[in-house]
Amino acid sequence: MTVVAVSLGLLAWWQTTQGFRAFTWESYRRLKIASHPLAVPNVLLQDQFGHLLDLNSLRGKVLVINFIYTRCPTICGYTGLNLSRLQRMLLQRSFQDRVRLLSISLDPHFDTPQKLKAYMLRFSNQLKTSWQAVRPVKPLQGQEMQHQLGVVSIPDGIGGFTHNAATHLVDQKGYLVRIIDEDNLKLTIDIIARMLLAAKTGINHDG
């Protein structure tokens, strides 16, 4: 009886923490995504030039997605800097044509294309690159996407949001496959390289 009770208790702990690895929602979510990739819903987006694009139209490329808002006084400057560094690293490896970087706005009412452009100019004066800052055209669609992916933002009490800053990697088929700390560029580029290599060997097989 006692043994059964202890086993059940340990099982509950094991299940809840993904084998004693995840004690927080975010770490649980990351482990879960890594083992069970999640299809990213389509969203209609508008970039810093005002151009419209469907997220689905980017299928076939690896997507590096993070969530920002341009009024953000803290972390979004840091994540933008990291993304521009990542972009340079991609260039060095000539990955730029097969990878897209998207900074999706959490504040689509305020973040007009002009604001998004200004945000991009904080990190580079080159705007026509593989990195785009975008906003969901329909705010509800954007919220639905965040909800499905498990991206949470909460009011910070001083007019902005405290939000998830992690880097989200979406594969060529439109599945969210990994979530990585925003400053872990080495792991990010390693995984991108692996995803590109997998696609290449896949094509070789078909051919």
Binding site: V4, G9, W13, T24, W25, G150, V152
Partner: protein, 185 residues
């Protein structure tokens, strides 16, 4: 506590918890340090009432004391995970489990408690005290947020509150053994 007092508390607390649930869940401090303990407490009150009406429950508690204790320990420890605090907000199944498992943990704790030896009760008291200190300390100084739904200020406030609970609880334990109302022989 007299039965009438228990009944009054129970009748009063149940609607209070239900009505206030949304409000309590808006902050990490009240979610973890008020709502979760209240759910356990309501279960404990309920078990206390049941025991007086059905003496067979006392026999039941005696027979299954270890399983009951283990159930409540595992349940309460699981609900100390920040992960479940978030999950209770976003997954209705987890929220349902919260409302079910914690009152049950209170019930089983009360049913087994009087059948546990003094030394084991002492260990449980001290471990609870140590856990309050550990969690309070971790929440107070962690540079990162453990819950995605709550801000860092909230988390630090929770740390202070848990340390405050530990202080009150420690003083209560100390005064009860040092001064002690009970006198054997």
């Amino acid at each position: 506590m007299t039965d009438n007092f228990r009944q009054a508390m129970f009748v009063m607390l149940v609607p209070v918890i239900i009505i206030s649930h949304h409000w309590l869940e808006t902050s990490m401090t009240s979610h973890m340090a008020v709502q979760l303990p209240l759910l356990v407490f309501v279960g404990a009150l309920f078990a206390g009432l049941l025991q007086t009406y059905s003496p067979r429950l006392v026999v039941f508690g005696q027979r299954y004391r270890i399983s009951l204790l283990l159930y409540s320990l595992f349940t309460i420890s699981l609900w100390m995970l920040p992960r479940l605090l978030d999950a209770a907000l976003y997954q209705s199944s987890i929220a349902f489990l919260k409302w079910l498992s914690l009152p049950l943990a209170g019930i089983s704790l009360v049913l087994c408690w009087r059948h546990l030896p003094f030394v084991l009760r002492g260990i449980l008291h001290l471990e609870l005290l140590a856990t309050l200190l550990r969690l309070g300390w971790l929440y107070l100084i962690a540079p990162q947020r453990y819950c995605v739904s709550y801000g860092i200020n909230d988390q630090q406030q929770l740390g202070h509150v848990l340390l405050g609970y530990a202080a009150v609880y420690g003083l209560f334990l100390a005064s009860s053994v040092l001064l002690g109302g009970r006198r054997a022989n």
